[in-house]
Subunit: 223 residues, 8 copies
């Protein structure tokens, strides 16, 4: 039967369902949260505004709102006792890419994975990246977030050996075309070990990185 | 110093350098191969035509040409004694996607990783995919190759739990725009655990999948 | 003469004219409605806001406003006595596609056709679709609404045999490009029996499906 | 089980599988044809060149090659005894659109449906279309094929009442962008009752039209 | 010298300079108007809001604001005594195209040319166009304004013999891409005698049509 | 009736039909030419290769092939006795634009209109244009042909007063995108009196210019 | 070490860092400004609104806000004693391009370079440009700013010999596509000596022009 | 008068005219070369094939053909006695970018400027770039050539202080879109001091760099 499907997913990341908050009303989100909490499931809502989060927290004050990441989360006890082994690196180019980087970092942390942040290390000032390269080299997997020309994953890809999940952001103007420029850059990267997610999709990159950290520390049978 | 960089890369996949054959002359490729062979390095040349491969094989008859994959390869002894643990799945939608799927499969095999091929399981005939789903679920990581509308990764993503590297192909016509349609489909996938490489880049997806199989079976210290 | 044209159209769907409300002022819509009501014609206004609908309903309180669908409608007695045979299925992938799905469903109902709604059955959780597939298989024609990567029509197309009218929605972000991604996916579908209407055009898909239900139950002479 | 799926499809159009010839070798096509013929299945191969067709016909001389349509076909006895009721109209704008129109017409005929061809009736000479409008009005469903600006479906859509499947062609130059212009025109049509298939996809439009002719003459239970 | 240039322009249309109001402040527009009025020049300001126009009219109450056209104009005596020979036709497809059609019509009238308006004659209801075709055939030149799929100029072009200036509008949604669809349609028209101006540029089309009416009634020496 | 349409067209330009040669076989073109010659009609075939033209000229040696323009033409006596009044200017930017400029010039001459050619006057060497500006100013209408950045019509438009038909060419490379760059430039021109035809459509621009020369010298009753 | 990098940059333009104000909060900008002022560094903040600038100026009233340019700046004594040799020309086509032109001019002035402004000299009125051409010819380097069709750099490039930095602006509508039209025009310019920066990036063009003025007057050892 | 224009240009780079060979016949190129040689002018023909160059060299055997650069050149005595001061750096990312890099290098050398080549230093192997950075820092101006994702100029821009002319190449596949990816990357670069020329336009970048080397060593009066 197909009931195995969801079970599989839950076992791996400890979450039955992750809620995409954008375009949902407070009432719709509350209904989903209620249904998850009744089953004592962990809850992760992405792209939720402060106002909507506040509305949910009136009923569930123990839930935490991460402002920069725009994430509302709560973990049950099972999820909380993470193994605490290994970490993923979240790297970003500039201050404006921060919300996407934080979406990635908080997602990973909520899914029970350690995170090291390496922010504001864009290629135009290479020494800042080189000063932090060992932190990135030591990660199990790396999320690289960049807007404008999106060159950072290529440079990081030439310096490290773990798998990179590249996230183009919509930061920029003019011929940036809302992130198209960074997206194409990353898809065409001549460095190996890089794959790409949608523009501004910090969540998606982090989800992949967490899967890999689990494979590395729990082995493939965790699949 | 920066000399550590290449060393790092070699340690992980056992290859000092992988050669992109497209747009290089037979003479240029021969020169690179000679330089690698002199140092007894393993050799992997992608996107190389039968004619050019034949030219190289006149000097190095022990090198093997994989016609469907358009790959020329040779492994030294070190690389050959792979651990033989785990496997990656290479899944493709239709017969026309086969060259890209084979580029992925042969790349992975040359890098010392086991591969299970699940071909011709496009979404328009769902039962074929469902008949093979356990093979895919058992893999450490999965490469999904699809042209036309490129919907296969989304469907696979809803059925399995290991990380998926999606490869859009340029197969199609009209509003396919040489693979743009499949590329956008995969970037917008609403399933989690999917990341994307360039159109027709079977090599890139396989490289990522192999990295992950190593992390799962050798642990993160293999990094 | 050309006077036959409009007569033809009216006979088939029982409506002399369907009003596209977007970009029309309340006053302009009222004028059109008045002219139709004076001739005792049924009225169907799509893409009309609650405010504008309220303005019209002050004069014609018997008209009904369908909020989710953003449709204002009234049927004369002739149209009301529909044959009640057969039904069309309206299928959608996610909650955010609901307004477009409802535009389709309410349009079909207003045109006198039965509708079965199969909502929130996106491909990332295939079992939800499979649980409802018999409802879809039993329809005369099917409207499939999907945003993001728009893969749903391809999957449905491989499972059923009636004609599918696919509606891409503008739901998504980043490389979705306001529905372009879903549109291209649907145009490139490798399943047979699928044709496509404009992004967010629930009305257009339903109109086609209703035509076909009439052909199936009244025969081609209804043409 | 899922075995019902293909059975369903076959029952409706009398064909187990339709082969897309483009990008397949003569040998690959021969293998598929052999497998179908051994089970006495009808065969329809689209987008196949004269040379490849000749190769197949050396073994199966009873198969017919339709040069303008680039289709190779053979019908078993079952398929041949079509009901012969109703017809679809295939309409095209100019001489250059003929290959696509013929792909549609021959597809429909091979699937056992009557076809009336109304060719070279582009909008720049409206009287030619008006002279033939009754033929189109009498059809169960209509396929309209047009390149360049692709305006023909909109004009036909204002004059007739049966469902229209619009096929943009890649005929044109400059700002035509290989059929993009005609595609957008058709998707944006302000006439009701029009849906669209991929650029140059005469097959897809005909398949839909045949489905509808069957619904109209055999009723929805033929589904 | 180059002083002849402006003189030339003025002689032909009776206006030294035409002001594009969009993106200019009330103060900037007032300054330009003042400078023209001091030299007793006729004034034509396009794309000016009611508010800004009101601001100018406080100082020059004799200037006329055309609300639908968003034009503010005043003609000196010289310009007023137009020859009154011939006329141009301004044709539009739907109600939403009206602002652009009015920009064309009022521009032409302000430049001293007679205008006949033929509005709401879109191709989806061909009889409305055919009922008015003689008015269009009698014009010296024709401006055709259409949004959505923009098919109207092609149809008109097949029915009349005078030069057509086609204006795509940004009216539509989804795959309309803000007028791109109508623009491409018009550029690819297979009817002869059609040329195209920018999306929503009613002014530009009218300017051309007026030039031609003058050539036809004053002869080429008016050049 | 609608028979008036073609008659109208013929009266104005003296040609019953103009044949677009591209994508037609020699045999198809011959058939059209034969049918026209039997009715003693003038013949104008555009976009026809030397080989195909030679094939036609074997039967009709009196027809003339214009190599640079790729036009095959023959005028009956009626068309030949043109009024010989006025002229149009055909202006082009560089040597590579010559085929399109010649298509325009020969079209106009074949339609019985005088032409003055002003070639190789691109904006990068402004003095060449200024040296010839009086020839252009003296024309009834002007065709301006330019590739690369397509800036020439804007500059000419600021210097002359007659109507300009701008033809973007596909000449260029890289970010030229096969003429898209020049097309956009011309559509956005801030000079008045410019309208645009399709990329490389020298024929279309010339047809318009000839219409206007007739209006100027025969008056609007020639319509 | 890599510390040399920033030192290099500062020496040349006298600024340690230039702040891109867009998308930064007042607080973030204040923090950066404070850190620079503490080290007595010159400060240049681009794309900063009046409100944010006012917030900073409450603490640093000696800083100057350039409204049209949207720049906030302050120079230390070192930077102020510029050599005062040579100048760059900032040329723009129309009034709407002024904000971008001013961003360029004020940037250059703040970096210690003389500027001559040549504004409102668009190609549609060529004499205005020709009247000012000697000013432009006398500059060390030229910034040319233009929206709409963006033809100005090509024309200027044919008339002068110093290096031109072309800035497309987002001014325009319809087929302008937010500056894409002007950008493509400038990239395809057939005049030599032109290079291009991002849409609306007046800062970037000025920065380049200032570098060159320094090279010309201080020699390459200033590098 | 305008005769000064060309004189100006010649004085600066020592060349009256530079010939773009692409799309010109051997005969056309020969005619231009002859006319230049008769006036003893230096000659520079870009984008000329070996065959065409050979044709010219039969008459002018002293002219030199640069195969990798596809340039044919000859310098008169005046041009030859260059000052020999300073140099420009030509940097490229990979072997496939070599033809464009050589077009730049040979153009600069032919215009009498010293060149230092720094090839195959793509960002995926950063140490190669860092090993050569002092050569680039020492140049008066730098040409950076890169295909694929085109990230090299951003990285170089963060490491050096002289003006960079970035050249995107059409090298790549898939989502590279013939150089569009690299072009957008370079236009969006967050490093200062970078401007961009058309895809594959090595000539244009070199021309600019040479202008600047002259300004630096001859001063602005060389203008
Ligand atoms: N088929 C392929 N597609 C994309 N990248 C490749 C491919 N084959 C090799 N590469 C990458 O290209 C780099 C070598 O490029 P090159 O120096 O041009 O041979 C290697 O480091 C690989 O990462
Ligand atoms: N929501 C809709 N989307 C697309 N077309 C529509 C919609 N509603 C109505 N229409 C069509 O628009 C036409 C009426 O347009 P109008 O004359 O502008 O009201 C009708 O004939 C319908 O075919
Ligand atoms: N070179 C050309 N470019 C665009 N349209 C053309 C050209 N030559 C002829 N035509 C048009 O194409 C129509 C004939 O098309 P066809 O029936 O395909 O020969 C004529 O009515 C002309 O208006
Ligand atoms: N208006 C502007 N447009 C483009 N780049 C700018 C602009 N202003 C500053 N910059 C660049 O942006 C960099 C600073 O970015 P940030 O660290 O985000 O403040 C500086 O090094 C400048 O090169
Ligand atoms: Mg910063
Ligand atoms: Mg198959
Ligand atoms: Mg859901
Ligand atoms: Mg025809
Ligand atoms: Mg209407
Ligand atoms: Mg020239
Ligand atoms: Mg002005
Ligand atoms: Mg290399």
């Amino acid at each position: 039967g197909f009931v195995k499907i969801d079970h599989h997913r839950k076992k791996r990341v400890g979450f039955a369902e992750i809620v995409f908050g954008e375009g949902k009303t407070s009432a719709q989100i509350l209904a989903i949260v209620q249904s998850l909490r009744q089953r004592n499931e962990s809850v992760l809502v992405t792209r939720i505004s402060q106002e909507k989060a506040q509305f949910i927290r009136e009923q569930y004050p123990e839930m935490q709102y991460h402002e920069a990441a725009r994430i509302l989360a709560w973990k049950n006890e099972e999820t909380s006792v993470a193994d605490n082994k290994g970490y993923i690196a979240v790297v970003c180019a500039g201050t404006s890419d921060l919300p996407v980087a934080e979406e990635a970092a908080v997602t990973a942390e909520t899914l029970g994975c350690n995170v090291k942040r390496v922010y504001d290390v864009g290629v135009a000032g290479l020494h800042r990246l080189l000063d932090n390269i060992e932190t990135i080299q030591g990660a199990t997997a790396t999320v690289v977030v960049a807007g404008m020309e999106g060159a950072l994953p290529s440079v990081v890809g030439g310096l490290i050996g773990n798998p990179i999940f590249a996230v183009p952001t919509s930061v920029g103007y003019g011929a940036n075309f809302n992130g198209l420029s960074a997206l194409l850059t990353m898809l065409n990267s001549c460095a190996s070990g890089i794959s790409v997610v949608n523009i501004d999709n910090g969540f998606g990159a982090a989800y992949n990185a967490v899967l890999i950290n689990q494979l590395a520390y729990k082995g493939a049978e965790s699949n």
